[in-house]
């Protein structure tokens, strides 16, 4: 099995190498563009193919791992993040990606999202938000707007929708961005910054379900008569106009942006540098290993047994 090790030259990662099964999404689904942007970003960053891990729960967008030719895992509904955290924390050499939709991330997996954010596990999470349950054919999602008629809310949704940006900033995610599946260049820029960020980085992509919620994001799509307004980040150049630009490290400013009227602005809402759980745990492991020196497992267990005599 070792034979290939010696022959392996560092190969250039291409979109072609990353392409796997043809996606099973409906024609016109926003997720196609997300996938293409992901390929292109990886191609640009040249991450070794064997180090890429794509992980997802259940939902239309959670089919993602089948469509990327990398190590991948298609898990159960709502639990992609703790699974991805287990991979990240036990294998710091890997680049871990989690994918999913609004139901998987904000509803059944909502608690995991808060805790992965709080722990600042080093991984990148892409949420393809379509405001509706598509795989099960049009039920209310946690981001469905009030009044949206579904099979579970025939007279219109009545529950206050989740505000993804607020939830993520409040939860403690250290990189929080919002983009739109029709804006490929912007999406790629967000992916690139998320991947380069050390810590828990999340990109919410508004990705239209053309079957069950067509036109949901038209107001932010210039081709459909909407306006795609991006966040202007501070340049720290001391100019008067810089005063009005967004400071990504200011979480109050991020909340203010998140409170803006629909469709709001796109870009990086929040970014901060906080030690990852990976780093903090590794520090402890290193300290402990220094303390025990080169004692073998058997030596260490013997010490434990000796203390119990």
């Amino acid at each position: 099995m070792d034979s290939a090790n010696t022959t392996a030259e560092p190969e250039k990662l291409t979109k072609k190498a990353l392409t796997a099964d043809h996606p099973t999404w409906c024609p016109g689904c926003g997720d196609f563009a997300v996938l293409a942007s992901f390929y292109k970003t990886l191609e640009k960053l040249q991450i070794p193919q064997e180090k890429i891990v794509t992980i997802a729960g259940i939902g239309c967008s959670s089919r993602f791992p089948y469509f990327v030719n990398s190590h991948g895992l298609h898990f159960i509904h709502g639990r992609a993040l703790p699974l991805a955290s287990g991979v990240s924390l036990s294998r710091p050499d890997l680049h871990v990606f989690a994918f999913g939709g609004d139901g998987d991330g904000f509803s059944i997996g909502g608690n995991h999202l808060d805790h992965a954010a709080r722990k600042n596990v080093n991984l990148t999470y892409v949420i393809m938000d379509n405001f509706v349950y598509g795989l099960t054919k049009k039920q209310t999602s946690p981001t469905s707007p009030l009044g949206f008629k579904t099979k579970t809310d025939p007279t219109g949704a009545i529950d206050q929708p989740v505000n993804p940006m607020k939830k993520l900033v409040y939860g403690g995610a250290t990189f929080v961005a919002r983009t739109h599946a029709t804006q490929v260049k912007h999406m790629m820029a967000m992916f690139e910054r998320a991947i380069k960020h050390e810590g828990f980085s999340v990109v919410e992509v508004l990705s239209e379900c053309v079957i069950f919620f067509p036109g949901a994001f038209d107001q932010a799509n210039p081709r459909k008569g909407g306006e795609f307004v991006t966040i202007e980040e501070k340049k720290w150049d001391g100019t008067p106009e810089d005063e009005d630009r967004h400071d990504v490290s200011d979480n109050s400013a991020a909340f203010a942006l998140a409170n803006e009227e629909w469709p709001g602005r796109f870009g990086v809402y929040y970014e901060t540098d906080r030690p990852t759980k990976n780093k903090l745990e590794q520090r402890w492991i290193d300290d402990m290993q220094k303390k025990v020196g080169d004692a073998s497992t058997a030596d260490l267990l013997k010490q434990r047994f000796a203390a119990m005599k």
Binding site: M1, D2, S3, A4, N5, A8, A17, A20, Q49, E50, K51, I52, V53, I55, P65, Y66, N69, S70, H71, G72, L73, H74, F75, I76, R79, P82, L83, A84, S85, G86, V87, L89, S90, R91, D93, L94, N111, H112, D114, H115, E281, W284, I285, D287, M288, Q289, K291, V292, S296, T297, A298, L300, L301, K302, R304, F305, M308, K309
Partner: protein, 600 residues
């Protein structure tokens, strides 16, 4: 194979006259904040150093601090198989301790009560009553500021003198324990110990009970509880990563692993909930490590969906269930064996897995090591079913041969060739963890959907059946390599008592008692519960009655959970059932009486 039935531990039936004794059951009853567990802990450690056998039993109140608590120590120079049906000695610290536990003292037993707090029924001639002003003597000895803190150590001094235990060994144990807490603490402890040791118990007229050491002289046995033994076994077996959520009585295993694994380059993570715990552990397994999770009762129920994924994706995972009384929140600090069916059949769909159950504290270590081996061998989840009694009680046992046992884990990320097939229909699972280069250029996606040999989703009727066969058969095959089942007593006879898990001790002791009376009883405890050993049918065939004893309910059809399984497998009407769910371990005479009623 049959082991020799040695003679039963002798209870000092010759009333409480002084002299040499070989066996004593001592119950300390007080409040949890009095540190009565400390007395028991010292006595257990002493036993481990003196070739005495020991088994302890304790109750922990469900309140956060305070509340009634007991610690029972069974010390003997022979084999100790249970924590004792009745106490020979009862130390009662409070009136409520006396009221609640006087009935646990055997006829002719000795009650030693704190005369500062307890007024016993002086008319009760069933037991001997000895009053000692434990609280005021402690306050007098230590001076005002410590109040009565230290009366546990004073009682330890009393016990040392009363049973003529090895004073110098106890002093060194006390030094070992209290030195870390500072000179003042150690000095106070020694003052309290000496005051107790020197105290003349007037009513006993200088009587003492020389609890003889075992024939082997000094030993260096390990004394510890089942949860600690299990955690160490997991490390020895190669577990370096895991995740869990706290719940009684599982928690001490995760505390232990959280502190210990970093020394071995590993990591144990406390997660936000039980679902995240098993999920994170599966993530660590997928990443190429042998990893584990665990919980008790309600927590295990929450893990069930993800556990099925472990079977489907064929990932190795150890899952520990420290069983407690259920259903629901149930009896969090009581013992029960009611999760066997869940361990074997839980989760939706047909999700075969391995289930093992340790029989005593020492076995917790060895079963953990075996679980690691089996999980890797079949690349599937392996359940370890232990229980509240095993988790918390202390026993002494010889140190395992670590050099022989310890497995150093490796990460198998060598490049896989073009012919890589993760789930060959006729071969072993070959997982390629991330980081592995795939020479063929095609990278694997692990899935919970039904899939073909390459892991590609495939829900065809034919493929689902073939893969179901594959996942089942690789588990069944494990039984071929099991050790031969052990029968205690003769290989044939009237009655075979069958148990699993922590009932091993009481069942074995009941067998010894019955054989002493000339009854043709034998017994066995099944450690491999799924798949069952292949040789059980032949063993059962040699007995008139096969009686399965377990701490769970008789259910709809009159049989406990293991009995139901054995009847399903062997369709043998001689297999009958004794069950109970009172939250207590089986007593010896309870077993013997119920067996007698059942077969007469």
């Amino acid at each position: 194979m049959s082991a020799t039935a040695t003679s039963a531990p002798k209870s000092n039936a010759d009333d409480s006259s002084s002299g040499d004794i070989t066996d004593a059951v001592i119950r300390f009853a007080g409040n949890s904040q009095d540190g009565i567990q400390t007395i028991g802990g010292f006595l257990a450690k002493l036993a481990g150093r003196s070739a005495r056998e020991v088994m302890t039993y304790m109750t922990i109140p469900s309140t956060i601090s305070g509340g009634a608590s007991i610690f029972q120590v069974h010390l003997a120079s022979g084999e100790v198989l249970s924590s004792g049906d009745e106490a020979d000695f009862l130390f009662a610290f409070y009136q409520h301790s006396y009221d609640a536990h006087i009935s646990s003292l055997r006829d002719g037993g000795i009650l030693i009560y704190d005369s500062d707090h307890v007024t016993p029924d002086l008319e009760d001639k069933r037991v001997r009553q000895v009053g000692v002003p434990i609280t005021s003597t402690t306050i007098e000895a230590l001076g005002g500021s410590a109040k009565d803190r230290g009366k546990n150590i004073l009682v330890l001094g009393l016990v040392t003198a009363l049973f003529q235990l090895d004073r110098s060994k106890l002093v060194s144990l006390i030094e070992g324990q209290f030195k870390r807490k500072g000179e003042d603490v150690l000095r106070n402890a020694m003052v309290a110990f000496d005051a107790g040791y020197a105290y003349q118990i007037g009513d006993l007229h200088g009587e003492s009970f020389n609890l003889k050491a075992g024939a082997a002289g000094d030993t260096d046995h390990v004394t510890t509880d089942g949860n600690t033994a299990l955690a160490l076994g997991l490390i020895a077996g190669g577990v370096r990563f895991g995740a869990a959520y706290p719940i009684t009585p599982w928690t001490t295993i995760m505390e232990h692993l959280r502190s210990e694994l970093p020394k071995h380059g590993g990591l144990f993570v406390q997660t936000e909930d039980e679902l995240a715990a098993i999920t994170m552990a599966l993530g660590m397994s997928y990443a190429g490590h042998l990893s584990m999770t665990g919980s008790s009762g309600p927590g295990i129920s929450l893990k069930m969906e993800a556990l099925g994924y472990g079977t489907m994706a064929e990932l190795p995972l150890i899952i520990v269930n420290v069983q407690r009384g259920g259903p629901s929140t149930g009896l969090p600090t009581s013992v029960e064996q009611s999760d066997l069916m869940q361990a074997i059949y839980g989760s939706h769909g047909d999700a075969p897995r391995v289930v093992l159950a340790p029989i005593n504290v020492e076995d917790c270590f060895h079963v953990a090591v075996e679980a690691c081996k089996l999980a890797k061998q079949c690349s599937a989840p392996v359940f370890i079913l232990t229980d509240q009694a095993l988790a918390t009680r202390i026993e002494a046992f010889p140190e395992p041969d670590l050099e022989q046992i310890v497995i150093e884990p490796t990460l198998a990320t060598e490049t896989r060739d073009e012919n890589f097939v993760p789930y060959p229909l006729d071969g072993e699972t070959r997982h390629a963890p991330p980081g592995t280069k795939m020479a063929g250029g095609k990278y694997p996606v692990v899935t919970g959907l039904e899939h073909d040999a390459w892991g590609h989703p495939n829900g065809s009727p034919e493929m689902h059946q073939k893969m179901m066969d594959r996942r089942r058969n690789k588990i069944i095959k494990l039984a071929d390599d099991y050790p031969v089942s052990e029968v205690f007593g003769d290989d044939s006879g009237d009655v075979l008592l069958v148990g699993w898990g922590s009932t091993w001790g009481p069942i074995r002791e009941a067998t010894i008692r019955a054989r002493e009376k000339g009854l043709a009883y034998s017994s066995m405890s099944i450690r491999h519960l799924n798949p069952l050993p292949n040789d059980l049918g032949d063993i059962f065939a040699q007995f008139k009655h096969v009686i399965v004893i377990e701490m769970n309910d008789r259910g709809m059809y009159g049989y406990g959970q293991l009995a139901t399984l054995l009847r399903a497998k062997y369709a043998d009407p001689r297999i009958i059932s004794i069950t109970k769910t009172d939250g207590l371990t089986f007593k010896i005479k309870e077993i013997l009486q119920r067996v007698e009623t059942l077969i007469s």
